[in-house]
């Protein structure tokens, strides 16, 4: 059997895929955070909870309404994103003129409320969401076994990341968003409806989190606390990459997933902590982050 640094190739490739899949989630979530931060200047602490809401919406939609996975993949981001827009319109907007730390605290409070409420109804143990039939099983690539669903998650997440990049960098709406990020007052003076743009942006960021949640539902146990611990890792990823660029967020997310996967192969004790250690290293060597613009 082929070995890579003393580890069988199949094991190595398996962990690498796992790492890439985790990385795809980091990328999707940090992308959403970056989009929201760009225009609203707040860190959306409810991002993990919104990811969790996405997974739960898929689970409950299937259980009570018979909504299948593919429909959920489209409907759930719209519903949770719409819910996010209501949050922005009625809560976040009221404190938009204050120090942006208040936005962080407000979304933290909201995350506690969402998480706590669902814990009361569903406990913390987590439920299973069936993988759609088409995506069950796997491919034998000769040197490794590739579960179809993981491959699909990777493709879907990357497609969504590229779609987001295209929307922001290549469309008129995206141009408004970029301009608003630079100077929203000037945009308003030019007659662009900035408050609406802000609501839509927040909704889009939340929808990205919900989309990630639906993708994650068949992969991990769906539990109310699935978002919060993930979010802290995503924060570290954001600190490593900096929130300045879309591509930066995608690349950093994937890269950190791979590093985490490889750590699981060679030094499993540190797999929980390796991303935080990378963050410390980046803070020492390049405090602005790998793709950061601020000094």
């Amino acid at each position: 059997m082929t070995m890579i640094f003393g580890v069988p190739l199949a094991v190595f490739m398996g962990q690498l895929t796992l790492g890439l899949v985790n990385g795809a989630f980091y990328a999707l979530l940090s992308l959403g955070l970056a989009v929201i931060f760009g225009l609203l200047k707040i860190v959306n602490f409810a991002h993990g909870a919104q990811y969790m809401l996405g997974a739960f919406a898929a689970l409950l939609g299937f259980r009570y309404l018979g909504i299948n996975y593919w429909l959920a993949l489209i409907l759930v981001p719209l519903v949770v994103g719409g819910f996010g827009m209501l949050m922005e319109r009625f809560l976040l907007r009221r404190i938009a003129h204050l120090d942006h730390l208040y936005g962080l605290l407000l979304t933290f409070g909201l995350a506690l409320i969402f998480e706590g409420t669902l814990v009361n109804f569903f406990g913390v143990s987590g439920a299973r969401y069936a993988t759609p039939e088409v995506l069950q099983g796997g491919l034998n690539l000769g040197f490794m076994f590739l579960p179809t669903y993981r491959a699909w998650v990777l493709v879907a997440a990357l497609a969504m990341c590229l779609f987001t990049w295209f929307m922001i960098e290549r469309t008129r709406l995206g141009a408004y968003l970029r301009a608003g990020t630079e100077n929203s007052e000037l945009m308003q003076a030019f007659g662009v409806n900035v408050p609406l743009l802000i609501t839509l942006t927040y909704g889009f960021g939340v929808a990205l989190a919900a989309f990630a949640g639906v993708l994650a539902a068949p992969l991990y146990p769906v539990s109310p606390t699935m978002g919060s611990s993930l979010l802290i890792v995503v924060f570290a990823v954001v600190v490593i990459g900096g929130m300045g660029s879309i591509m930066g967020a995608i690349l950093t997310g994937l890269g950190m997933g791979v590093i985490e996967g490889l750590t699981k192969v060679y030094y499993p004790e540190a797999s929980n902590t390796v991303i935080f250690l990378v963050m410390i290293l980046v803070l020492m060597l390049r405090p602005a982050g790998l793709f950061g613009k601020e000094a």
Binding site: L105, F108, I280
Partner: protein, 330 residues
């Protein structure tokens, strides 16, 4: 005529200042008196819990309220103080509790220095994220480290004898020791806030570029404030471990970092008494809720308080009371 007024004016100001100082001193004396009588009225263990969390919140408030730095990782210092003290007292039976507490506080201080050096490299929102991530790193270390007892935590830490001859086994003796520790921490913070150092911190909070242009080494001031805050949070954690004779992962979890923010916010950010009041309310609330049918809803209720505070109660209880007092009596 003009001359006599010119001489009289400053003395009137001094007079008013003197009276304000006296009022404040009387207020503190009254508070201390309440603290001394309290254990005969309420359950001492409950009061000690409030005092430990109040010291924790005061330490956090020093950083947020006076230096304008939002740390989302203060649980790490509370837990480090607690674990180290617990480990020292449980494994070296000859050690007196005050030495254990000093040991825990020292290590929390060192950790505060490490956190601070890294975190002050980024500002505002990133500062919060960096401290949160570092605290999570510490959390995972405590989960895996052999001496913390993992998920079970450290149990049966002996209270021992203070200075080798005052037994802390009775809750009353323990209470007065905790009260003394709290007063020490509170006095230190009060002194820091009103010192030139504290004034520079406030200047940095209000306008960092201006403070830099005035020649202050802003990073050094921030770091010192961070270390001081971490040390006091560690002191709170160490004392808490001696009181409850256990140290657990709950203290290291990010929920704890959120709770201390809530205590400070609810009581009043940037007020000296706010964190004390906030800690009192949050701890009492948890105590009451735990025994009521709403026991499972604690986190939801804390979340709602958070949202209400941020939306419409940003000065906190003490802040709002001060505003009301100023409006009606001056």
């Amino acid at each position: 005529m003009a001359d006599s007024q010119a001489i009289k004016a400053p003395s009137a100001v001094q007079e008013r200042q003197k009276r304000a100082d006296m009022r404040r001193n009387l207020f503190y004396i009254a508070l201390i008196a309440i603290g001394l009588v309290a254990p005969f009225v309420a359950y001492p263990v409950f009061l000690m819990k409030i005092l430990c969390f109040a010291l924790f919140a005061c330490a956090f408030n020093l950083l947020l309220g006076y230096a304008g730095l939002l740390s989302f990782g203060h649980a790490a210092f509370l837990a480090t103080g607690g674990y180290v003290t617990g480990y020292l007292l449980a494994s070296y039976p000859g050690l007196t509790p005050e030495l254990g507490i000093i040991g825990g506080t020292l290590l929390a201080t060192v950790l505060g220095g490490l956190f601070g050096v890294l975190a002050i490299r980024r500002q505002g929102i990133y500062f919060a994220m960096v401290t949160l991530a570092l605290a999570q790193l510490v959390y995972f270390m405590f989960v895996q480290a052999p001496f913390t007892g993992g998920e079970d935590g450290l149990h049966g830490v002996p209270r021992g004898e203070l200075f080798g001859f005052i037994s802390l086994r009775s809750n009353l003796a323990m209470y007065y020791f905790v009260f003394a520790v709290f007063l020490f921490g509170f006095a230190l913070i009060q002194r820091t806030v009103h010192s030139p150092f504290g004034q520079v911190l406030k200047a940095i909070r209000e306008n960092e570029p201006r403070a830099i242009s005035l020649g202050y080494n802003v990073d050094a001031y921030k770091l010192l404030a961070f270390v001081l805050s971490a040390a006091l949070a560690g002191l709170a954690g160490s004392t808490k471990t001696v009181v409850f004779q256990l140290a657990s992962l709950t203290d290291a979890h990010w929920h704890m970092s959120g709770e201390v923010i809530l205590m400070t916010l609810l009581g009043g950010v940037g007020t000296l008494l706010g964190p004390l009041m906030g800690a009192g309310i949050v701890v009492s609330l948890q105590h009451v809720l735990a025994q009521s049918p709403l026991g499972n809803w604690v986190n939801v209720i804390l979340g709602i308080i958070f949202v209400v505070c941020v939306l419409s109660f940003r000065s906190g209880i003490v802040g709002e009371l001060t505003k009301m007092y100023r409006k009606n009596f001056k």
